[in-house]
């Protein structure tokens, strides 16, 4: 049974159809890279998968949950599915440790000592153990993004979604975030990541999906897809990136 099933999903904003019948499956432990031009619907697809956007038709199942509009079901889904955004979105009024411990404490009712233990473990995983008591505005962008990843991991998700998590970062900070994600992939996390880092997608993602105009235009094993693109659109996209 796949960990993620997306079946013939359609999504419109007003009159504009942004997803035009998208289907994909992700097996447990797979890493899927979503690539494509700006506006091709990558973020929208990711946001539909955790229910942040409502789909117009189709079906999405993830980590044993069906995406619906029922708030309770959605919350159950989100305890198993983490998402990290381009803009980090840490809670600015809370310290790093509090950012990480908040949801496990209030959503999952985990005991305080244990949330602390988990927080320390995930912070160590992203290499920021010494920042437990720091505030977000005292951290670099790369550090903030790693805290955001740690905050998601503290919920012990089964699937992680990443939406261009390095796009706002300088190249030298990008690396430290990508390393964390690569480590996660090696540890067997099921991941879907929207990325513009083609080299990273090629190296880390088991499969890569190229989206174009709201459709899955081309998909395949990452190495194959990048070295032997079948459609002119992907060929041009890959070429533009090498440049």
């Amino acid at each position: 049974m796949p960990e993620v099933i997306v079946e013939n999903v359609h999504k419109s904003f007003g009159m504009v159809e942004v997803l035009k019948g998208v289907s994909l499956t992700v097996e447990r432990g797979e890493v899927i890279a979503l690539i494509g031009r700006s506006g091709s619907g990558k973020s929208t697809l990711l946001r539909c998968i955790n229910g942040l956007e409502k789909i117009n038709s189709g079906r999405i199942e993830i980590a044993g949950h069906t995406v619906s509009s029922d708030p309770k079901q959605l919350r159950a889904l989100r305890t198993d599915v983490g998402i990290v955004f381009q803009s980090y979105n840490l809670f600015p009024h809370l310290s790093v440790g509090e950012n990480i411990m908040l949801a496990p404490k209030i959503v999952k009712n985990v005991a305080k000592a244990q949330t602390r233990e988990t927080a320390e473990r995930v912070l160590k995983l992203v290499g920021l153990s010494e920042k437990f008591d720091a505030y977000p505005d005292e951290l670099s962008g790369g550090q903030q993004q790693r805290v955001a990843i740690a905050r998601s991991l503290a919920m012990q998700p089964k699937v992680m979604l990443f939406d261009e998590v390095t796009s706002a970062l300088d190249p030298e900070l990008t690396e430290e975030v990508l390393n964390v994600m690569e480590q996660l992939a090696r540890d067997g996390m099921t991941m879907i990541l929207v990325t513009h880092e083609m080299a990273f997608a090629r190296r880390v993602a088991t499969k890569t999906i190229f989206m174009h105009q709201g459709k899955i235009w081309e998909e395949g094993l990452s190495k194959q897809l990048f070295s032997d693109p079948q459609t002119p659109e992907l060929r041009q996209f890959v070429k533009a990136d090498v440049k």
Partner: protein, 219 residues
């Protein structure tokens, strides 16, 4: 009739009346704060009809003079057979007045918390109540401090309106002393000075909070 002069005991009377101004301000801000808080929540609710009711309330309160609220609660209710003591009528009308404005100020503060904060907390499986309680309101509170304190200054000054229904606060006390001494210049300078003594530190506090908010726009 013997005219008194404006002396020490008259000034003492003004100071004790200032106390009532302060009491009325505190009643208005705490009562208005509680009501206004819930109106602000309703105004930012996901339920359409709650938003509409809250918006209508705010529009009505902001659309009529405080004086009318005061007359309505004092004379209106007395016509209905309810004779309200001036303090109660004054307190109730200032509460209603403050609630309408505080609700609108706080609505703005809640809505100025970036929508990404809603999305991040929602994605961590929080309920809407938890989002308000742990993520949105703490940030909105920080944002709201300067304008809330600024509004408190307006309330202090506007309590003078309640003198019309015979509530003896600072302005009314000034009138009474003036009637007895007929030294309007001295009396009202003293009254103005007393208002200033309360309002000036509050305005300064508001400005300081504003600067601090902008210096550290986060945390």
């Amino acid at each position: 009739m013997i005219l008194r002069t404006f002396g020490f005991s008259e000034f003492g009377f003004l100071v004790s009346a200032l106390l009532w101004t302060v009491v009325l301000t505190i009643i208005a801000l705490s009562g208005g704060g509680i009501v206004g808080f819930f109106i602000a929540l309703a105004r930012t609710s996901t339920h359409k009809w709650l938003r509409i009711v809250a918006a209508t309330y705010i529009q009505i309160i902001q659309g009529i003079p405080v004086l009318m609220i005061l007359f309505l609660s004092y004379y209106g209710l007395s016509l209905a057979g309810l004779q309200l003591p001036p303090l109660v009528a004054a307190g109730a009308s200032m509460t209603i007045y403050a609630s309408g404005y505080l609700a609108e100020i706080w609505r703005g503060c809640i809505q100025s918390v970036p929508k990404q904060q809603w999305e991040a907390s929602e994605s961590l499986a929080m309920t809407r109540t938890q989002q308000y309680r742990y993520v949105i309101l703490p940030q909105a509170l920080r944002i709201s401090l300067p304008s809330t304190v600024g509004f408190a200054v307006q309330v202090v000054k506007n309590t003078s309106i309640t003198s019309i229904i015979g509530f003896v606060e600072l302005a009314r006390a000034g009138q009474l002393i003036n009637n007895a001494t007929f030294q309007p210049f001295r009396v009202f300078i003293a009254v103005a000075a007393l208002y200033f003594v309360v309002c000036y530190p509050l305005s300064q506090l508001s400005r300081w909070l504003e600067r601090r908010l902008h210096a550290r726009s986060h945390r």
